[in-house]
Subunit: 199 residues, 2 copies
Amino acid sequence: MYAAGMTELEKGPLGRRRGRGARERILGASQQLFREQGINSTGMDQLCAVAQVSKRTAYQHFAGKDELVAEYLRRFDPEVMPTVFDRADLTPRERLLAAFEMPASTPLCPYIGAAVELHDPEHPASRYAREYKTSIAARLTGAAREAGATDPEQLGEQLALLIDGASARTRVLNRESWSTAKAIAVVLIDSALPASSAR
Amino acid sequence: MYAAGMTELEKGPLGRRRGRGARERILGASQQLFREQGINSTGMDQLCAVAQVSKRTAYQHFAGKDELVAEYLRRFDPEVMPTVFDRADLTPRERLLAAFEMPASTPLCPYIGAAVELHDPEHPASRYAREYKTSIAARLTGAAREAGATDPEQLGEQLALLIDGASARTRVLNRESWSTAKAIAVVLIDSALPASSAR
DNA sequence: ATCGCCCGGTACCGATCGGTGTACTTAGCT
DNA sequence: AGCTAAGTACACCGATCGGTACCGGGCGAT
């Protein structure tokens, strides 16, 4: 496994002091550049320049670009999705629909982009993309269960597919498709809920 | 416009004789390699080697890789989609559902792949991908209208989104998602048809 | 036979890629 | 202070990219 935990503080156990946060700047530049211009189109030289970090330093923090890409995906964790499932002020049904409220700030879910660009299912980043997408479906399934769906697993998988569809279609057409996805979600949810716990 | 017409015969009008079909071999190798290993991961050297064509010849038929990629997309036209809409033996409803019968031979619709890999909305291939995706939605809308949908445009766009979702999700998860997409399509169609021309 | 057109082979170009080596400067703790 | 780890600057490596120049051969039409 990778050292996913050391986000911004030192390692802790040993009294390891911490130099000026180069690692954080690298990850920050990754978030910006990989999303804006893709993974393969972003060279390490440019990335290090943006991060204001020596190339040497970058390769002391990450074994290679592959590992950096994987860590970039692990750090992404869109600010939207996680919070959606914790909002207690929403009904289960509203929580399911909230996943489709994309503020157009998300051009393309980077997990799809990484899987397509890297083109290797065994690449660390591809593995994590799979893992993450599965976890999203699981969370949707959980919310569907709370909402009282007759087949929560099916509804969760269906909603996950809608999210990916809107993401891919938005990218290809250069035009947002989240409203369409949400309209479908409404139909699916209404037809999957026994009309009892509709609200 | 490009000379999309000269598939295997000579130009005709002038008595231009025809060399051994180098162009066709190049396009054939493109179909194979671009789909199997992606666009950016396929070098022109490898492509020419597979096509058994000199590199010099390749660049006499195509101004550059970009143009070759665009032509590759134009030639793709999956054998599945076009035929689906012409099958007179199916009811309109069955025709709408037939679009989701993917024989697992389609790993990822190459239009999505191209748009993600090339990462430039103005790239000729990206333009054509947009164009093609729009035409698929239009054809679905047409079929939806024949089926008597209350809002054919909406249903067509929704079904198109399902196709893209299944395609993207299949790629990321390395596991087919067409059955899920079809299940959603059934719900959408049944809810969009006034139950009169259900069959 | 001879001419001209495709075509294949191959070496090559400049640019860029991911990644490294070396020597120097900084920052933080004791 | 003084030690040490972290970071910087910069040159450099081999590989590969898309694309081109040049040369020699095969084949169809005249």
